[in-house]
Amino acid sequence: METRRDIFQALADPTRRAIITLIALQAMTPNAIAEHFDSTRQAISKHLQILTECELVTQKQQGREIYYQLEVDKMKEIDQWLIQFRKIWENRFNQLDEVLFTMKNENK
């Protein structure tokens, strides 16, 4: 529960969400990531640090550069959680469709 809350807080920030979208395609260096934003390099580093702490991204050393990559499994975990909740409402509404259908016929 502890980590999960952290993940949601990490994702509450629009810049961090944008970073995730960016590195979902390919691992990138902090400089390459920063080029996509108006924020300072320090601000981006801070965002990357928070994402790393939540294990949403990991670092990997390649030559002299550090690359950040997305932890796809961690993202899936969050999606599963919310998808289940969405499903509750989806199914509930399907039942309501049937109730409304019956009500309509009774009114005729």
């Binding site: 529960m1 999960r4 809350r5 949601f8 807080q9 994702l11 509450a12 959680w81 919310l82 289940q84 909740f85 969405r86 499903k87 509750i88 409402w89 989806e90 199914n91 509930r92 509404f93 399907n94 039942q95 309501l96 469709d97 049937e98 109730v99 409304l100 259908f101 009500m103 309509k104 009114n107």
Partner: protein
């Protein structure tokens, strides 16, 4: 049957809000009735094979709906069915337009469980030109942690399992 009905589910983590929009193929009057009448709510609020049962409902400002969700033993593996109580208190009602109030987990007498988060809800109804009705549900909590706790309760109660089983039947 409902593939052409709009369904949107948005989680706004920045303000701890979940917004659900759904179109229904019926006029406003009928949809409003299905959402505000105990006998009708009992028919759709509990997901099969779970079911919802109203203990009391007083649909007016200051009134409340006290209901329980009954989870059959087959779902949880327990020996007997499990019963979970919920209460909605109505604060503002504008007939055929919207109603809002608070949502809580409680006991059979409607005493809210202080350990579980209370939420706020607002259900807005609007008639569309094509004979359909759009319902927008806005559910707000004090923190995202609360949102998670509410979702987690659904799992714990076995309600989510009911849906999973339903899916299995359909597939």
């Amino acid at each position: 049957m409902n593939s052409n009905l709009k369904f949107e589910f948005e989680v706004h983590k920045e303000n701890n809000t979940i917004v659900v929009k759904r179109e229904f193929a019926a006029n406003l009057e009928l949809v409003w009735k299905a959402w505000t009448t105990a006998e009708l709510l009992d028919q759709w609020w509990g997901p099969e094979p779970c079911r919802a049962q109203t203990k009391s409902m007083d649909f007016r400002e200051g009134g409340h709906w006290l209901y329980c969700m009954i989870v059959p033993p087959a779902v949880t593996g327990a020996e007997t069915e499990q019963i979970h109580w919920g209460k909605q208190v109505y604060e503002k009602i504008v007939i055929h337009k919207k109603f809002s109030g608070t949502d809580s987990f409680c006991d059979e007498n409607g005493n809210a469980n202080p350990e579980l988060p209370k939420g706020r809800f607002e259900n807005v109804f609007s008639e569309e030109t094509n004979g359909k009705t759009l319902v927008t549900m806005i559910s707000t909590h004090a923190s995202f942690e609360d949102v998670e706790a509410v979702i987690a309760m659904g799992f714990k109660e076995g309600i989510t399992v009911c849906f999973t089983q339903l899916d299995a039947l359909v597939q």
